[in-house]
C-alpha cells in the first residue's frame, strides 16, 4: 500500500518493474519501496508559529546561525580588547587584570561552545540534514524548536553574566577549580554560577537537537539514500553529534558538581585550602577529577567542531573542482575512526597537570595515532584537487585557506601531543597559536566557504564575489600572520593568560611582535564587517542564482522551490540512485550527474559502483 503512495513516476518507465527484492528481472532503476509513511508536518499560520516558534528545521537552522553569529561578534569584540591590552599595555586604563581575565574566559567559551558548536550542528545541521538526506524535516520538529529556544535562553543567561555584580567569570574557559569558585578569581560569585547554568542549559538544549539529527540521519533517509551514499557533510555532522551526545554528559556532570561545591559547600573538587591565613571549609576533594571530566568533554569537543568542518570542506572541494572526492570510503572511515579515538586522548591536555606520569605514555600514543586518519583526510583533499577542474572562486579560496591553516595547526598538534615536547610548550603562546590555527581559523574558513556556497540556496541570490575575495584575502592573510608568529612567542616561553609581561627579560624582543599582531587583529576583525555588509546587501540586491548554480549533485540543490519550502520536496520525495560525487563521469554529457538521476538516463556513463 505504501508502495503505491510513494511510487515514483520514473517507475512507470517501459522497463519491467520488479516489486520485491529477490526474483524477477532486475530493473536498473529499481529502488526499494518506502519503509515508512510520509511524514506529517505542522504548518504554522501566524507570524509567531511561522518565524519565531517555528518547527521548520531550515528556519531553526537560520535562527541558530544568527544567534551563534551574534555571540561570535561578542567574542570578536572581546578579542579586540584583549589584543589592545597585549599589544599596547597601559595605554588603555580601563583594561584591568580582572576585566582581562573575564574577557579571556568569555571569549574562549563563546567561541568554542556558543559560536562554533552551535553554528556547525545547530545551524548547518538543521539546515542541511533533512535536505541532504531527502527528508521533509527533522523527525521531531517540535523538540527541535524547543532545542533552539533552550540554546537561546542559554545565550541570554551567558550574556546576563556581563551585567551581574562582580561581572562574568574570569576562571579561564577551562573553569578549573578550586580557583574558579573562590575569591581571587574575578566573577567567582554570580558570574561562575551563570556560566555553569548556561552550560547546563546548552547541554540540555543540544541533546534535544542532537537526538533529532541522529535519528533523522539513521531513520528518515529517502529511498535509495544508503549511508554510503550520503554526502560527507552529513557524515561529519552525524559523527560530531554522536560525539556531542556522549561527551556533553561529562560537562553536564562537572557543571552540576561545581555548582554544588559553590552553592552548598560540598567538596567534590575542593581540597583543603588556606586563603588569607584562614582554612576554608572545604576538605578532601580532587581538582584533578574535574580536569578529567572536563577534558573527557573537552577533547571530543574539538572534534565536534572539526568533523563537520571536515565533512563540509570535502563537499565544497569536490563540487568546485568538478571531481569526486578522492577515497570516499576512506574519508568516511576516517571521520568515524577519529570520532571513536577522540574519546581516548583527553588527558593529553593534562600532561603537566600532576596526574600520574604513567598516563603520559598511553595518551601520547593514542594522540599520535589519531594523527594518521587525520593526515589521510588531508591527502585526500589535495588529491581531489589533483587533475580536477578547479574553479578558483571565493568558496574554493576558503577551502584552500582551510587546508593551509589546518595542516599548519595539525602539525603543531603533533608537537603538543608528543608528551615530552608538550612539557616546555604547554600553557604558553604556542598552545594559543596552535588551537586558534586548527580550531579557530580553520573551521571559520569552512564556515565562510559554506556560507558563500549555500547562500544561493538559502536566499536564491549569490553573495558578491568581489567583496568575497577581499574578505577572504584579508581574513586569511591577516589571521595567518597573527597566529604563525605567535608560535615563536611560545618557544621563548611567554605563558598564556598573562595580562602583561612587565619587565620580564623576555619582553623586549616580543614588544614589536605583539604590536604587529594586535594591529593585524584589528584589521582582520574589521574585515568581517565586509562580510556582514555583503550578506545584507546580497539578500536584496545579489545576483539571482536560479536552481543549482554550482552544478552540484547532492539533494539539497534539487528541491522544486528555491529557496526550499517547508516540507522541502513538494508532492514527492526524491529517489536517490547514486552517491553525491558523480562529477566529470566519462561518457556523461554534463560534468555532473545529480543523485536523483536514474542510471537509465545516463546509460553511456561509466559510473563506478559505490
Amino acid at each position: 500500500m505504501l508502495d503505491d503512495i510513494n511510487k515514483d513516476k520514473k517507475h512507470s518507465s517501459p522497463r519491467t518493474k520488479s516489486s520485491s527484492i529477490s526474483g524477477g528481472e532486475r530493473d536498473v532503476d529499481y529502488v526499494r519501496p518506502a519503509d515508512i509513511p510520509d511524514q506529517e508536518l505542522y504548518h504554522g499560520h501566524s507570524f509567531l508559529t511561522k518565524w519565531i516558534f517555528c518547527q521548520d528545521a531550515k528556519v531553526i537552522g537560520v535562527q541558530y546561525t544568527l544567534t551563534a553569529v551574534f555571540t561570535g561578534v561578542v567574542g570578536l569584540i572581546l578579542s579586540w580588547m584583549m589584543r589592545m591590552q597585549l599589544g599596547f599595555p597601559e595605554l588603555f586604563p580601563f583594561l584591568t587584570a580582572e576585566s582581562y581575565y573575564q574577557m579571556v574566559t568569555m571569549h574562549g567559551m563563546i567561541m568554542v561552545v556558543y559560536l562554533l558548536t552551535a553554528l556547525f550542528l545547530g545551524g548547518f545541521g538543521n539546515y542541511l540534514i533533512p535536505l541532504m538526506v531527502g527528508a521533509r524535516d527533522m523527525v521531531f520538529p517540535y523538540v527541535n524548536m524547543v532545542s533552539f529556544w533552550m540554546f537561546f535562553v542559554a545565550v541570554v543567561v551567558l550574556m546576563a553574566s556581563f551585567f551581574v555584580p562582580g561581572g562574568p567569570t574570569g576562571a579561564g574557559w577551562t573553569l578549573y577549580p578550586p580557583q574558579a569558585i573562590i575569591e581571587g578569581t574575578p566573577g567567582s560569585g554570580a558570574g561562575i554560577l551563570l556560566m555553569l547554568v548556561s552550560l547546563s542549559l546548552f547541554v540540555i538544549g543540544f541533546t534535544m537537537g542532537g537526538l533529532n539529527y541522529v535519528i533523522t540521519i539513521l531513520q528518515a533517509r529517502t529511498r535509495g539514500m544508503t549511508l554510503m551514499r550520503m554526502p560527507l557533510t552529513i557524515w561529519g555532522i552525524f559523527t560530531a553529534t554522536v560525539l556531542a551526545l556522549l561527551a556533553f554528559p561529562a560537562l553536564f556532570v562537572s557543571a552540576i558538581m561545581m555548582t554544588l561545591d559553590k552553592v552548598l559547600g560540598t567538596s567534590f573538587f575542593m581540597p583543603v585550602m588556606m586563603k588569607a591565613g584562614e582554612l576554608l571549609a572545604y576538605d578532601g576533594g580532587s581538582p584533578i577529577l574535574f580536569q578529567h571530566l572536563f577534558w573527557f568533554f573537552g577533547h571530543p569537543e574539538v572534534y565536534i567542531v572539526a568533523l563537520p568542518a571536515f565533512g563540509i570542506v570535502s563537499d565544497l572541494i569536490s563540487v568546485h573542482s568538478r571531481k569526486n572526492i578522492f577515497g570516499y570510503r576512506m574519508m568516511v572511515w576516517a571521520i568515524v575512526g577519529i570520532g571513536a579515538l577522540s574519546f581516548f586522548v583527553w588527558a593529553h591536555h593534562m600532561y603537566v597537570s600532576g596526574m600520574s606520569p604513567w598516563f603520559g605514555f598511553f595518551f601520547a600514543t593514542t594522540t599520535l595515532i589519531i594523527a594518521v586518519p587525520t593526515a589521510l583526510k588531508v591527502y585526500n583533499w589535495i588529491l581531489t584537487l589533483w587533475r580536477g577542474n578547479i574553479r578558483i572562486n571565493v568558496v574554493m579560496l576558503f577551502c584552500l585557506g582551510f587546508i593551509v591553516t589546518f595542516v599548519n595547526g595539525g602539525i603543531t598538534g603533533i608537537f603538543l601531543g608528543n608528551v615530552i615536547v608538550d612539557v616546555p610548550l604547554s600553557d604558553t603562546y604556542f598552545v594559543i597559536a596552535h588551537f586558534h590555527m586548527v580550531m579557530g581559523i580553520a573551521p571559520l574558513m569552512v564556515i565562510f566557504g559554506a556560507i558563500y556556497h549555500w547562500f544561493p540556496l538559502i536566499t536564491g541570490r549569490f553573495l558578491d564575489e568581489k567583496l568575497g575575495k577581499l574578505h577572504f584575502w584579508i581574513t586569511f592573510l591577516g589571521a595567518y600572520s597573527i597566529y604563525f608568529p605567535m608560535h615563536y612567542l611560545g618557544f621563548i616561553g611567554v605563558p598564556r593568560r598573562y595580562f602583561e609581561m612587565y619587565n620580564s627579560p623576555y619582553m623586549p624582543s616580543t614588544i614589536g611582535m605583539n604590536e604587529f599582531i594586535s594591529i593585524a587583529v584589528f584589521v582582520v576583525g574589521a574585515a568581517q564587517f565586509i562580510f556582514f555588509f555583503n550578506v545584507v546587501k546580497s539578500i536584496r540586491l545579489g545576483k539571482p542564482s536560479g536552481k543549482n548554480p554550482w552544478k552540484a549533485n547532492s539533494l539539497e540543490w534539487l528541491t522544486p522551490d528555491v529557496p526550499p519550502a517547508h516540507g522541502n520536496w513538494g508532492e514527492k520525495l526524491p529517489v536517490v540512485h547514486r552517491w553525491a560525487y558523480d562529477f566529470s563521469v566519462p561518457g556523461a554529457k554534463e560534468d555532473y550527474i545529480p543523485q536523483t538521476t536514474p542510471p537509465s538516463e545516463v546509460i553511456e556513463a561509466e559510473v563506478e559502483k559505490t
Binding site: 505504501l2 506529517e40 531513520q219 528518515a220 533517509r221 556532570v253 560540598t266 567534590f268
Partner: protein, 235 residues
Amino acid sequence: MTDPNLNKLPGGFKGMSTDIGSDQTAFKGVNWGKAMMWIFLLSDTFVFSCFLIAYMKVRASVVDDWPYPSEVFGLEVAGVPVPLLLIAIMTFVLITSSGTMALAVKYGYEKNRKLCGLFVLLTAIGGLTFVGMQAFEWSKLIFHDGVRPWGNPFGAPQFGAFFFMITGFHGTHVSIGVIFLFIFARKVYRGDFDTGRRGFFTTMKSDYVAIEILGLYWHFVDLVWVFIFAFFYLW
C-alpha cells in the same frame, strides 16, 4: 512497519549489516521515537557513569573514613536495628513497577485500552511510592542523623555530597517518569491512541508505541537504580 518486504530480510549479524548498508532506515521497523529514546538513554548512561565514576574515584582516594552503609541506612523495627530495610523495600517497589510497566506495554500492543491504562497507572503509583520513600530516607538522614551535603557525623564529607547528588538526580528521573506516566495513563484512558487525538503541544497523532517508549525509559531508570543500590548500599 507494514512493509511486507521486511519479513524477507535476512536476520542475525548478516541482517544487521545489510540493514545498516541499506537505504532509508538503519534499524528496520524501529519507530522514530523509540530509536530516539534508545540514543537518549545511551547519552543518559554517560551522565550516570560520570557520576558513579567520580564517586568511585573520590571514595577510593579520600583519607577520612567512609561511613558504614549498613549502619547509616539501617532502620529500627521494634527496637531491633535492621540494616537496609527501607532500601530493600524501595528497590522491591521499583522493580515491581518495572513489571507492571511491562504488562502495560503488552496490553498496549494488544490495543487493550483499559488494561493498558490500568497498568500505566499502577506503574505511576509504584514510582510515586518510591519517591515518597526516598523523601522519607532523605529526611531521616538529614534531620535524624545530621547528614549534610557538606559534612556528616560518620566520616568523609563527600559521603553526603555524593549520596544526595546521585540519588537526587536519580529521584528526579523517577519523578519526571511519574509525571509522564500519569499524563499517559490519562491519554490511554481517554482513548487518544485509538481515536488518533492530537497532542496538545506537538499537534501530532500518537499510538501505543508511546507506551513502549515510556517503558524503555522506566526500565532504564530501574536499571540505574540497581547500580546506585550496589554502589552506595552494598559497597
